[in-house]
Point group: C4
Chain length 127, copies 4
């Protein structure tokens, strides 16, 4: 039944424009400003995902370790990463996402600093 | 006259950030919040397209089967998929789109939860 | 002095989500709702570009023929294409852009139907 | 400890839709309308980056030379480039970004000409 038993995608992905807007308008948590990595593990094997966060003025943070079950979507707000550290708002960063099986990564930001929210999204760069 | 008689694109595409915003401002259906897959079949052969929807907490839904005539655009709101099931709003999902001939897939969301609409778009990931 | 004398990019590009929003808020022409193809010809040879427009219910229109001088940017609003025909607003379409030399194509929409404008952009799919 | 000691990405990148919106709403510099190139140098070698700016009606400007330290993010507003010249607002342009080591480039615009800001973003085209 699975159309992609061995998965689809790549095992390394980069997002270069990371930024969590520091203010929000509208009901939490739905309209809270956030940066997200949206991932698909289409294959039949559990994915072990590691996220590294690069900053402008210090060594990278991470890895933040996530697990994605087979045939599952996994949307992770960067705001909510909390181990080994918390990513600060209002700070420029980049992300490297690695996985032991192929996944696909898309980057999306919701910015509700002003009264109507703005959105941006792109498929990440597959390395 | 057809500049691409054998088509252009790929036969598998992934969108990782699927989400239909659960509210809308403005006249329906034009300004209704929606997630869309926009597809081009540039070739001279009819495309049989299958859409699989992956969730965070259950097995995938689908395939939703679509047909795209030769040399035609086909923009499908995910809101409007209704067989074998309806995709719920306010729910994280991912999409796998397969085709028996090359097509191109672009993912676009219109979010009109707040007073002025937001847009995001990306070419999907070709597998 | 030219860092790319032979150009950079591809000779066929696809945009699958074409749509010119049928209304606008704000001063014309700057804030007029539009769909654009933004192109770079980085090489030292003039580019002959052909744009084909695919619809959901009729045969494609075009080619619309454009010329891009060497080492030049060229941003074309689809609203302003006028030969061999005019692209209607409020209509789903896809675009195929071909060139005799490598170019890069990015697709951007400004939607000012509601009071604050929305934007979306993606690098097109290189064929 | 570095998951990508030799870096990840490409050594040439193109952004075709460059434009700095000529007006802004909201507090400076956070909400100032801008075009940005967001870059990651994930490797262990300093990157020398050159940015060339292409216009519609004159020869390219640049190179603007930037340095990205190893394992660092670097987000550069085009508004703030000031040598060898300043990029005018309200003007169509394209960008070519070259690097002597692999980097990843993402293009993002914040447009706050109207009361609520709009955003767009895409991974640039790797050449």
């Amino acid at each position: 039944m699975n159309p992609c038993p061995t998965g689809i995608g790549a095992t390394a992905w980069v997002i270069a424009d990371g930024y969590i807007p520091p203010r929000s308008c509208g009901p939490e948590p739905e309209m809270t400003s956030h940066d997200s990595i949206c991932m698909l593990n289409a294959g039949d094997t559990r994915a072990r995902v590691e996220v590294y966060v690069y900053f402008t003025d210090r060594e990278p943070a991470g890895p933040f370790v996530l697990a994605i079950a087979p045939r599952r979507a996994f949307h992770q707000r960067i705001n909510d990463l909390d181990g080994p550290e918390h990513i600060p708002v209002g700070t420029d960063y980049c992300l490297l996402v690695t996985s032991d099986v192929p996944i696909v990564v898309q980057h999306t930001r919701l910015d509700s600093r002003q009264e109507a929210n703005a959105l941006m999204s792109t498929i990440a760069f597959p390395g």
